[in-house]
């Protein structure tokens, strides 16, 4: 009987120790002092990187074949829609070319620099699989070694995708712009009004706040990053288009819903902009200035060297 009670106590002790360890780790992580834990995770994912790429390479054709069988009708509809879009795009190429020339001339006249185009980029492949059902990020096969740093913007050919949240030697994780923790300063191009775009979760559009009630915002308008000083994004990155405008009299502002320009569900390749915001140099105040050297006495007339 006593032996059984002892066994039970030992079991409880073991469980208690494990639970306390887990809570201690959670606390460390929540306090942001989990540098060692993050490094360990980064190292493990670095090691597993080739395994993931290999798995993607092996299973890719199977997945594509399965998708082809299961969603043939959808693919066909998408294909015809894409053909239509391609025709439209071809028609607008000339017009866009002219506009681009005009823009470059205007920039030259103003002596301004096209900052977004001038930013160097790294093209990275999206490792097409979150490891868990509870992840809302994407991972790239390039990392620190390629110059990628935390906070750098990521875009696809269509628009902003998110920002680098974590990076390791040859792997990095991107927080998508639909993530509830994501926010960025944006500008509604036509009116020039600035606001703050925030993610609202997967498959949901962004919400832009702080747009004044007087500002006229029309669905279909383009929204770009505003690039305020200190922002992690340069000005002019395409974010998306306005889909809905709801005046909020209580807040004295409008709630503007924006559909992301980038299709976040079909990302294969993205570009990381090697952009680091200009942080204003700190003003150094010398609290204890050194005494100025006393002025040298003026040479006496006729007191030159012998």
């Amino acid at each position: 009987m006593a032996r059984r009670a002892g066994n039970r106590r030992r079991l409880w002790l073991r469980l208690g120790l494990l639970v306390v360890t887990a809570i201690a780790l959670l606390t460390l992580d929540a306090r942001g002092s989990g540098g060692v834990l993050d490094s360990a995770r980064g190292a493990v994912l670095d090691v597993l990187g080739p395994v993931r790429s290999f798995g993607d390479w092996v299973t890719g054709p199977i997945r594509d074949a399965w998708r082809g069988v299961v969603s043939y009708d959808d693919l066909e509809a998408e294909n015809s829609a894409l053909r239509g879009e391609l025709a439209e795009a071809e028609a607008s190429v000339l017009r866009v070319g002219e506009l681009e020339r005009d823009r470059q001339e205007l920039l030259a006249l103003l002596g301004a620099r096209d900052t977004v185009q001038a930013i160097p980029r790294v093209t990275a492949r999206v490792i097409d699989a979150p490891i868990s059902n509870f992840e809302r990020t994407i991972e790239l096969d390039k990392g620190h070694r390629d110059g990628i740093r935390v906070g750098m913007p990521v875009e696809s050919g269509h628009g902003l995708v998110g920002r680098v949240e974590e990076t390791s030697l040859n792997w990095s994780r991107v927080e998508l712009l639909t993530d509830p923790n994501f926010d960025a300063g944006v500008r509604i191009v036509r009116s020039g009004d600035d606001g703050l775009a925030s993610g609202r979760g997967p498959d949901r559009d962004l919400e832009v706040s702080y747009i004044e009630l007087e500002t006229v915002v029309i669905p279909g308008e383009t929204v770009v990053t505003s690039g305020f000083a200190g922002s992690t994004f340069p000005a002019g990155l395409l974010v998306g288009t306005v889909t809905e405008v709801v005046p909020d009299a209580v807040r004295g502002a409008q709630r503007v819903t924006v559909h992301p320009a980038a299709d976040l569900t079909r990302l294969r390749w993205v570009q990381v902009l090697l952009y680091e915001p200009d942080v204003p140099e700190p003003v150094i105040v010398d609290r204890d200035p050194e005494p100025e050297p006393a002025p040298e006495p003026a040479p006496e007339p006729g007191g030159g060297a012998p």
């Binding site: 073991r14 494990l18 360890t21 809570i23 959670l26 299973t59 993530d179």
Partner: protein, 177 residues
């Protein structure tokens, strides 16, 4: 040496499970759900080894999961430790039931593990957990556990050097053998 055997085998099994998870299962997503082999292993660990071994085995699975999944570090450790422990308690209740019954229980426990994870996410106010399709994930994980449990249980028995109990489906043996 007697204790080093199961430890070394457990480590090998965990590494294998992580490689299969990362290299294969994360790319094959039935109904858009990633089947987490570490949950199935934690359940099997408890069902084979009892609550104490289940807790330790679950903790190992949780730690491995924490190292590869971007949830708060320690969350999987906490959840899978409890899953292993609870699986041990349930296994003690059902004893040496039929294989099918054990697989059914394992599938319920695996679904419960997903539910526990969601509860932990809710307590920690993690929107990316609470907004995930929990019911769908739990159903797919339960189905996967139902199918895979016999194999997983056999593997865990080999790892922990635990011989299978006489199954009820074979019936009790006569004293004479």
């Amino acid at each position: 040496m007697a204790t080093a055997g199961p430890l070394a085998r457990s480590a090998l099994l965990l590494v294998g499970a992580v490689v299969i998870h990362v290299g294969l299962l994360s790319h094959m997503t039935p109904a858009g759900v990633i089947i987490d082999p570490l949950v199935l292993l934690a359940v099997a660990g408890g069902m084979v080894g009892g609550r104490g071994t289940g807790a330790s085995f679950g903790a190992g699975c949780g730690l491995a999961s924490d190292l590869i999944v971007h949830t708060p570090f320690g969350m999987s450790l906490l959840v899978l430790t409890l899953v292993g422990y609870l699986s041990g308690i349930i296994a003690e209740q059902i004893g040496s039931a039929r294989t099918v019954a054990r697989a059914a229980v394992a599938s319920l426990l695996a679904a419960g593990g997903i539910g526990l994870f969601a509860c932990a996410g809710w307590l920690m106010d993690l929107e990316f957990v609470t907004e995930a399709p929990i019911v769908r994930i739990a159903i797919v994980t339960a189905l996967a556990a139902l199918v895979a449990h016999p194999l997983v249980e056999r593997t865990v028995r080999w790892v922990l050097l635990i011989r299978p109990q006489v199954s009820a489906e074979r019936g009790p043996r006569s004293p004479g053998g």
